[in-house]
Amino acid sequence: MICVHMKKKFILIDDDPIFIFLNKKVLETTTCMESVQDFTSGLDALENIKNNLDNIEKVVILLDIRMPIMDGFAFIDELKKTVGSDINKFIIYLLSSSIYQADIDKAKQYPEVRDFLNKPLNTDKMESVCKELMSL
């Protein structure tokens, strides 16, 4: 049995609305989602986070790496600057369709990044993420 308080709030950030749609669908089938917010740009997401920081207790961010204007890594840098020590409120998963090893290596240099997930997300992948999140 899964307690409600263990369910997590999610933020999806991806410039491709089809992936937003798909990932929302996948999240809906999982057991650990309490709510989901989506943004097609990192800047919008940052703005929203800034305004609601006090209300955020713990949130899971599924973050695309390759986005115009602000890519996933730049988003993390900005988020750290914006929220300061509140960064530990955010559990970040990087999403990418890239097989580019440099991205994976770079992701490893960010302690804020919990894991690197290959696109597309599917229910199986998301369930194993859920299991991990439940234990947190």
Partner: protein
């Protein structure tokens, strides 16, 4: 003493009478008398009109005087003893054939040491024959001197010799063409020259610093002089200064300069080209990144949408069939993109070296691909590791990925025992392994071709025709070899040998 210096001398009084004859000259000229009865001016021809005063007015004139009644001539000059009103002719035989010397019983002892007949003190005790050989030798020396002088002038290198005060002692013609300027420069410094020529004094000062360094470190120092820097006429000289000790023990600096403008220009062009190529390479990597990422992104979206459709909508079997075809096509496109990425990355990226855990890597790859066949398949793995394998982690992964996923794809479940076998031996210097499947094998006439680009031996199973090509290219980069053994109907063995480094 005077006679010792000039054994062929004679003295004239004001009346032009010969009043004294040197000891050696007396062997040729028995008596004395008036100048004209004894001698004849050959050069200059003073035979017409000459007098004591005429000779007196030519203190710096070289005379050649024939001794009358003989074939001999004397070469020398007149020196005046004003108090006694006497003229001393100081000279020695000129261009004297050996036979004439013998005729007058003249031996080496009859000559002063400074005489041109005697080139070296060692010859003093020589016979006339030896003396003549000495003359030949001196001619050889002169020829050699001229040869080397010419050589030094023509050698396509600026050459100069400095004393330890950094003053020119010698320059060849390549260094300074103008003969007068070259003479002027002897005893001058680099700075003097640059001031005279009114050119960039900095170059001159700089040279002197390098020369000082060469003196102090007692070693060869090289540097580059750049004239007309940044202009079309830019000249780059490679200069070296090196201390050297001459045969007489004196220390000098030997300097040479080589015009390397052309080499420099070419090097610069090559460098520019290299920068351009590197930029292009960098851009290409960016393009490849874009292709692999941006092309894959929508492909993966389609795949996910197809999956979603199959799960959320009740479809009839025909529709599911269509969706599966879409999936297969999309997978092929995705495989192509991934292969192209690896192909380019394999040819571009530098060779690394990292410890590789074969057992882990093989199991990991197998786990990823074992579900690509609809039947259970076993991985038989046997690794004998006497040493840790060090190789390029990226490329060994490409190789194993290709070979193992191929082995799974082409395996056979005809006897219900589909398997992939991986056997490896690793020691300090080498790693050999093979990947074996029990599939249908490859016909002998196609076996040579499987590593060729875009070659596909099988139409039934989807492939890009790039996998084994990339695999063999990666092995080549690792410095290894790959071989195929295959028996149709029984299976294939791919054997790989790579160095452990």
């Amino acid at each position: 003493m005077f006679d010792k210096l000039f054994p062929f001398h004679f003295v004239l009084d004001k009346a032009f009478n010969v009043v004294q004859i040197g000891s050696s000259l007396s062997k040729i000229l028995p008596g004395s008398g008036n100048f004209d009865s004894c001698f004849l001016f050959k050069t200059p021809r003073l035979s017409v009109k000459h007098s004591f005063d005429a000779l007196l007015s030519r203190p710096n004139q070289l005379f050649i005087i024939e001794i009358k009644g003989s074939e001999l001539s004397l070469q020398g000059q007149f020196i005046c003893n004003a108090t006694q009103n006497l003229l001393f002719f100081c000279g020695s035989p000129w261009l004297t054939p050996e036979t004439d010397l013998k005729k007058y019983n003249l031996s080496i002892a009859d000559f002063a040491l400074h005489s041109s007949v005697i080139e070296n003190a060692d010859y003093v005790s020589m016979s006339i024959d030896e003396l003549n050989r000495g003359a030949e030798l001196s001619e050889d020396y002169e020829n050699q001197r001229l040869f080397f002088e010419r050589l030094f002038d023509e050698i396509p290198v600026d050459m100069s010799i400095f004393d330890l005060d950094k003053r020119f002692r010698y320059l060849n013609r390549r260094a300074v063409k103008d003969d007068n300027l070259r003479k002027w420069m002897i005893g001058k410094t680099n700075s003097d020259y640059f001031i005279l020529k009114n050119i960039d004094k900095e170059i001159g000062f700089r040279r002197e610093v390098f020369m000082q360094n060469a003196i102090e470190s007692d070693s060869l120092i090289s540097f580059e002089d750049i004239h007309h820097k940044g202009t079309e006429n830019e000249v780059v000289m490679l200069r070296s200064v090196s201390p050297f000790t001459a045969h007489d023990g004196n220390k000098y600096l030997l300097a040479y300069g080589l015009n390397i403008s052309d080499i420099k220009k070419k090097a610069k062009q090559a460098e520019q080209k290299n920068v351009e190529l590197e930029k292009l390479n960098h851009e290409l990597n960016g393009v490849i990144y874009s292709i692999t990422h941006d092309f894959r992104s929508p492909i993966l979206a389609v795949k996910a949408l197809v999956e979603l459709m199959k799960k959320t909508v009740q479809l009839n079997a025909r529709f599911v069939g269509f969706l599966n075809h879409i999936n297969t096509s999309i997978d092929r496109l995705d495989d192509q993109i991934i292969d192209i990425y690896h192909f380019v990355k394999n040819s571009n990226s530098e060779l690394g070296s990292a410890p590789v855990n074969l057992s882990e890597l093989v199991s990991e790859i197998f786990a990823m691909v074992e579900h690509s066949v609809p039947y259970p398949i076993e991985l038989k793995i046997n690794i004998e590791e006497k040493a840790i394998l060090y190789t390029d982690a990226y490329r060994i992964k490409i190789v194993l990925n290709n070979l193992i996923s191929n082995a799974v794809k082409y395996s056979s479940n005809r006897e219900g025992n589909a398997f992939v076998e991986f056997v490896a031996k690793v020691d300090e210097t080498n790693c050999s392994f093979f990947v074996r499947d029990n599939g249908e094998g490859i016909p002998p006439h196609l076996q040579d071709k499987v590593f060729e680009i875009y070659f596909r031996a099988n139409n039934k199973i989807a492939g890009t025709g790039l996998g084994l090509f990339i695999c063999s290219e990666a092995i080549r980069k690792l410095g290894g070899t790959i071989e195929l053994e295959s028996i149709p109907g029984q299976g294939s063995i791919f054997s790989v040998n790579i160095p452990n480094r």
